[in-house]
């Protein structure tokens, strides 16, 4: 409708790839036509399909997608350019994305000629890591190194039990009956919510909101339909826990989603997984196809945007818009996906639910992604309140001059702070946050200046640019740090950085901007890096 289209035509291959997502064009001569107002939700999947076919989003593919989805080409271009993994300029069908983020730097990552540097790929336990994308008739993505190492921990596991036992993640038979889902149906939605509320379960995505309270709020909304979104856009540098869960225990996630959807009255659920997790996509799709759990579950795949892990940006992305966060309030429990009441839960959060209903192991455990200068990097599961120093010992950490807790949006701790209890309160008392459970160990030889310059670069690159404090603040932060690092400060740079920290915290729309200065600020004020 009213589209001013480009002249470029798609190739037959592109047309076929896009049609596979949006459906074939109706023949002319019909007497009825309908407009699906949610149609543009197919924009990102269609552009992704076109790129996976030929290696980049050509003007022909962009124009054809625009026409088929009733999205103005300029608008579609705006969406396509939002995502780092979509290319609008010609490039070879095969691209090597080399992680140059925090853990992989510590492991000596090098970007070979012709490869593209990449933010964290979520493969930190096997750093240095990369991802190869191969376009063509049978497109695929390869994680490098290809194989997932075994869990470093074998005892006291709860969420990770099945994984440690080596259960076949592709077999519904091996997973067995959905006992927790059956139990939920016996209990009824209200009782399920009561049990979750009575449990100590807090959201594991970073904000630590009580899960039961969120569910109750959505279940009680009169507006219909309700949606459930599983946030699996795990992109916090140093985080890989949800990837391991999705790759190794996908049926449990499907069951947990079904329970949450049942309790909150959702007929449709989405799992939004970052594009860098090809094995997780395949395993989840396999599990969804194999299992019948009474709710429609759709896997949505991102295209390289850290900010889409913010829940409202994630809605924007699913709906086919640029992943720019919305103002809150209204909160998603009232106005979420497509403006409807929406439950958003992190993968790890949801996976805690079945055990709550079955009343088995009632320990409140958390997953920690340990990487950096340690002998046994990987995923650890510990009861909340365990000391950080105990975790470091389990992982065989080198003597540390600093530990980054909570990821790029978290904080650096000094060696004398490592006895803090790993709980929300314990972290808070130390001025830190558990965030997404990231623990990156910086040994005696590690370069902390390099680390904070990378963190500043990361946020500058990932800022969506929508609000001024974050768009300008992340650039100014990086510039000031570079001047300090090169020994050419202009005036009191520390004061400038402290001001920026406060402005970004106070005035940014979303958590990205609000936390973009956390780690840098803690490095300067807590560790004294660049402070003189």
């Amino acid at each position: 409708m009213d589209l001013k289209l480009l002249d470029a035509e798609p190739t037959a291959a592109e047309r076929e790839a896009i049609d596979a997502v949006v459906g074939a064009e109706a023949a002319n001569g019909n007497r009825v036509a309908r407009r699906d107002r949610h149609r543009r939700q197919l924009l990102l999947p269609a552009l992704r399909a076109a790129q996976r076919r030929v290696g980049w989003v050509t003007p022909g593919a962009l124009g054809y997608t625009s026409r088929r989805l009733d999205v103005p080409p300029a608008d579609a271009y705006g969406v396509a350019t939002f995502y780092a993994l979509l290319a609008l300029e010609e490039r070879p069908p095969e691209v090597l994305h080399v992680c140059t983020d925090l853990s992989c730097r510590l492991a000596g990552a090098q970007v070979p000629e012709g490869a593209t540097p990449s933010p964290c790929l979520g493969l930190c336990e096997r750093a240095p890591a990369s991802l190869r994308t191969i376009a063509g008739a049978e497109p695929r993505e390869e994680q490098i190194p290809p194989s997932s190492p075994p869990l470093p921990q074998s005892s006291d596991l709860k969420l990770l039990r099945r994984i440690a036992d080596g259960l076949d993640p592709t077999s519904l038979e091996a997973y067995g009956a959905f006992r927790a889902l059956e139990r939920a149906r016996e209990l009824g939605p209200e009782r399920v919510i009561e049990l979750v509320k009575a449990s100590p379960l807090l959201g594991r995505g970073g904000a630590a909101f009580p899960t039961g309270v969120k569910w109750e709020a959505v279940a009680g909304q009169p507006a219909k339909p309700h949606y459930l979104v599983c946030n699996a856009d795990e992109s916090e540098p140093g985080t890989f826990k949800d990837r391991v869960l999705m790759e190794q225990d996908p049926f449990a996630l499907v069951e947990a989603i079904a329970i949450a959807a049942y309790a909150t009255g959702c007929e449709q659920a989405f799992i939004y997984v970052r594009a860098e997790y090809p094995l997780a996509h395949a395993r989840l799709q396999n599990a969804i196809d194999a299992a019948d759990v009474g709710v429609e579950i759709e896997v949505r795949i991102g295209a390289g945007a850290y900010v889409c892990g913010e829940e409202t940006a994630l809605f924007q992305s699913i709906e086919g818009y640029r992943g720019e966060p919305r103002n809150k309030p209204p909160f998603p429990v009232e106005v979420g996906l497509y403006g409807k009441p929406t439950v958003v839960n992190n993968v790890e959060t949801l996976l805690n639910v079945p055990e709550i209903l079955l009343g088995g192991d009632d320990r409140d455990t958390r997953l920690f992604c340990v990487s950096g200068n340690v002998a046994r990097p990987g995923l650890y599961e510990l009861e909340l309140g365990t000391l950080l120093s105990e975790l470091l010992e389990l992982a065989g950490a080198e003597p540390a001059k600093a530990v980054l807790l909570g990821g790029a949006a978290g904080s650096f701790l000094r060696p004398d702070q490592l006895d803090l209890p790993l709980s929300f309160e314990g972290a808070r008392d130390a001025g830190a946050t558990l965030g997404s459970g990231v623990v990156i160990v910086y040994g005696e030889q590690a370069d902390l200046v390099d680390a904070i310059l990378r963190i500043a670069e990361f946020f500058r690159d990932e800022s969506c640019g929508q609000c001024v404090p974050c768009r300008i603040g992340t650039v100014r932060q990086e510039e000031a740090l570079h001047r300090l690092a090169s020994g050419k400060p202009q005036g009191d740079e520390i004061a400038v950085l402290t001001d920026l920290t406060q402005v970004m915290r106070d005035a940014s729309i979303c958590g990205l901007g609000q936390t973009a200065a956390n780690a840098v600020d803690s490095a300067i004020h807590n560790l004294g890096v660049l402070a003189q």
């Binding site: 409708m1 009213d2 002319n28 001569g29 019909n30 007497r31 009825v32 036509a33 309908r34 407009r35 107002r37 009733d70």
Partner: protein, 536 residues
Amino acid sequence: MFGAGGGTSSYEETRAADLIILWGSNAREAHPIFFHHVLKAVNNGAQLMVVDPRRTPSAQWADLWLGLDVGTDIPLANAVGREIIEAGFVDTEFVERATTGFDAYRESVEPWTLEEAERVTGVPADAIRELAHAYGQAQNVQLCWTLGITEHHNAVDNVFALINLALLTGKVGKWGSGLQPLRGQNNVQGGGDMGAIPNKLPGFQEILDDGIRAKFDTAWGSSMPAQHGLHLTGMFEAMEQGELKAVYVVGENPAQGEADQQRAERLLRGLDHLVVQDLFRTATAELADVVLPAAATLGEVEGTVTSSERRVQRVRKAYDPPGEARDDIEIVYELGRRLGHDLGSPRAEDVWNELRSLSPMHAGMSYARLDELGGIQWPCRDETDPGSLYIHDRLWADVVEERAPFQPVEHDPPVDTLDDDFPLRLTTGRRLESFNTGVQSGRFSSPLHVGGEAILLAPEDGERYGVADGSRVRIVSRRGSVEAPARYDATLRPGLAFMNLHFPDEVATNVLTIDATDPKSGTAEFKATAIRLEAV
């Protein structure tokens, strides 16, 4: 309708609608100002349904488009009415209190089952049912139409068919629901309001009413005959019969705008005397004995215009008209003076105040109040009256004095029938950037005039008749033929062709059209012409 010549509702209600139906209207292109209110409604969650033979840009915005055959609006509307009755969506209380003739209506629509309507209109039965149920169930519905309904030989019956649906469901005369014939220019409504129609004096006052005529005769010192005048097509008939010998054309271009253009031009040439008053030297002006150059309404004169929602708004003079051009009021008053009648002060505000003294529905609209309120919607009966967002609320009064009658109507297919010699249905219409015969919009170059005039064909028809995309083709109707480039357009289904009328100097589309006219409205059947294509 119901005795007042205007849409019942306002833009404000349109924006708040739950359902908007555009029936025979491509408002996206032909009524872009109205359509932006529609889009606001759509963005607020309103459903949009479009009934049109073509999948127009408006239809492409619609949640549901119904592509009926040209000239089958009555079968479709009657089937919708029947389904509303069947499904129990009739507002029985409203029908009993505020209408007459329901039983006859029910009988008249009885044959129009969904299946029968599908057979005649081409629209699948389930889509017709969906339209009926949506109309029956929505709270606030605006049913809008334009020339797709009225440019037919049975235009008035088409309108009745739609009004019947509103009466059936009580969706008129109250806030939120109504009937809107969209006006194609900023002041079509005002023209009718001011009495520029053959049967009414200003304010839609009946000329045959002795009391009304006496009021005007007293004010004007005149003695008007108690008879209706002629509408445009009536005038051409009178010219043909030699009864009409002199014509004064103000701001119209009938030499190119009338159906069967060759006939129109011949008759205009045969007049004893033709006066044309216009901004431009139109094709009609070329035939005139006297041309009176007129000033433009926007910027060059003082006065008012009245929009589709009955809102009277001020226009103001910003600069003097060029050359010898003069304000229409001045020209008419000077003509009156030379013919021996002093029409009074030619100041726009004085003329307006005279109107207010004679037309009760304008009585409360002083220039000061029009300024203060940003325009006023009629009726506005005195200076305390805020004007009327919607009209016909009398239908919801405790006692309905004058009930609204159902008007049963029968299907009457287009006059220009399809056969082996003329197998294609040509329909005409507007496009966004051009206006009618192009007098105002075609005289300058614009990147929007893409391709000029062309006949648009379904690609299937192009192949079937051996007409390549972009090639020139001769288009032949029973009245004449023209040459034009052919362009393929995938929004047309096979059997349906489309032309504009915006570039008559390039392609005289109205050479093809038929002047079969509705005797009640005087509008010709521009929308349904039978044609064939010939190689050039």
